[in-house]
Symmetry: C2
Subunit: 351 residues, 2 copies
């Protein structure tokens, strides 16, 4: 048996890790490492194909997809992610459940395996903060949020790490969900104003940064009507991640600079589904890699079309595995059946 070990983390290991590292430092690390990874992204080394998998209507409507991302010597991460929208109501389980497998790209050895549910939430927030750092006015103080479910928590957490937020204006079509948001983000100490459907126009007019994180079904969007022009609004469109599912009105997209996280995926699943190629702006990588050329976008109407990029998962997984090793968390398992004789797959057995 080779001495190759696989570090497996349990939920309690991740909870302990966050307790020791601190949720703010972890978010800051993910935001910082995401910017670095995007700035250093080299298409001659990195490979991030669009996700693929199985989509089904029975036994419940759902999908399980694999999101692979290869970054040369820093390894290959595959996120396995399930989306089962009936989960919260029928099974008291989040709609998104995920796991992360990190491979050594020299041998394909599995070096780490950990939950990706928490990190998907965290990195989705971090991605919006990264986009907002490059696309929103630096003095943005009012954050509007439409859709106050699980994603709202990490959106606000990440933005609060990068902006001096005075006020959050929150709307959800389910008043019970918006009403519970202040308690869920209590650890951030932000002023939260919960509004009803009559006040959505005001929310749109008063926000410096807007996050849309809804779970409306394909065909239901857009989630609001177009509204009067704004000079420097930045929108993070988070919730659109399904064929046929959109959040923003076409007229608004048309007069915005729309930056997808990952072009090929955004045109298949994001709000970019609504746009012709020529109407889609630079992707996040282009913006970050040539920051000065895109600095004026901070004064314009911009949309970050976030569909979830495996680069973000890779970065987050490496950070957590590093902390786990440093703190001695998790179990080093002899997971793989690596035979002492590579020409005999049974040689790890006693036959």
């Amino acid at each position: 048996m080779s001495g190759l070990k696989t570090l497996v983390l349990e939920a309690s290991d991740i909870a302990t890790l966050v307790d020791k590292v601190g949720i703010h430092r972890l978010m800051d690390d993910v935001i910082g490492a995401t910017v670095t990874a995007i700035r250093d992204y080299d298409p001659s080394v990195a490979q991030v194909p669009p996700r693929s998998g199985v989509h089904y209507l029975k036994p419940e409507w759902g999908l399980i997809e694999a999101m692979p991302a290869h970054f040369g010597r820093s390894g290959t991460t595959v996120k396995l992610v399930g989306y089962h929208p009936a989960n919260p109501v029928s099974y008291n389980v989040p709609s998104v459940v995920a796991s992360l497998a990190v491979f050594d790209s020299v041998t394909g050895h599995l070096v780490g395996f950990l939950d990706g549910t928490f990190l998907t939430a965290l990195r989705t927030g971090a991605a919006s903060a990264v986009a907002s750092k490059f696309l929103a006015a630096p003095d943005s103080r009012t954050i509007g949020i439409i859709g106050c479910g699980a994603q709202a928590v990490t959106q606000l957490h990440a933005l609060a790490r990068c902006f001096e937020i005075d006020r959050v204006i929150a709307y959800d079509r389910d008043p019970g969900v918006s009403a519970s948001l202040p308690a869920r983000i209590g650890f951030l100490g932000l002023e939260v104003e919960v509004v009803d459907s009559d006040q959505v126009t005001g929310l749109l007019e008063r926000s410096d940064v807007l996050c849309t994180c809804t779970s409306s079904a394909p065909g239901d969007g857009p989630i609001f009507e177009d509204f009067s022009n704004r000079s420097h609004l930045h929108i993070n469109a988070i919730g659109s991640d399904f064929r046929g599912k959109i959040e923003l009105p076409f007229a608004l997209l048309k007069r915005s600079v729309v930056c997808p996280d990952f072009h090929a995926q955004a045109i298949a699943e994001g709000d970019c589904q609504q746009l012709e190629e020529a109407m889609i702006g630079p992707d996040l990588k282009a913006v970050i890699q040539d920051e000065s050329a895109h600095a004026q976008l901070r004064d314009e109407l911009t949309v970050f079309d976030s569909t979830g990029w495996a680069l973000e998962d890779h970065v987050s997984a490496l950070i957590v595995l590093d902390y786990a090793r440093e703190l001695g968390l998790g179990r080093d398992l002899n997971f793989e059946c690596l035979p002492p004789d590579p020409k005999n797959p049974y040689s790890f057995l006693t036959l």
Copy 2:
């Protein structure tokens, strides 16, 4: 925290499991369950998309792919498989290293996670045995094998469970590899005749069933010249599983009935790459689901083009997880960070 557990098996758990169950019974179970799964395969429920992933030349030539397979209520299995051909020589690790993630398809919960290296070897042997049961003469007694590496072990094991084998004739272009085969399959008690390159024609003429399991690089094939017609030879072409990589001569394929394991994948990666659509025969599913219509194939020249079908991985993973539960092997981990409040991804933490 929800009570959903993930059963994680280590290599030692799988070794103990094989010790208790017996390698022959396990192989018989996988062969039997594969036939049943193929016979019951219902395309209105099952979904097995072709594998996809990342392929790279640095830091070593390799790939990591995801192979998802959804079978309705019986769940969804994703195999994550790496192929790094430098492994055996440079790192003393098998070229194929894999892991298997089994999901509940109601919620997307990860029910089990286990090594797939050993099971990939086992199920690849089982698939050839299944194909041979339906495509080879039932009284086949002489097995030819070209390519005597790791795959040869499970090919011969599986065939020995289904046929009364008198003799194995084995050739490898590396004489050291063929010379070590008899010891590696000693547990089967078969008569093995190792031949050199001069005797390959004889091997081809004397075999009732031939297995080709070579790892020649894309562009190198075919691995032998076409040979005189045979009345009832069945060939399992195992080694071709890469774009541009082929094993069998075109002329031979042309006068054979070529049955792919999985049509869409075989035309991309298998020996079917050489064929036009009209020259490809029924897939294994068609043969098994209408056995009587295809019974005459056992007297003909047939080729099973095996590229590896995720159905086989799903079937094997379920068998092993069932035995592990029965025998109390492995660890039931609280792996997923499932928050008590699905609307708050941080609610499993103490903030």
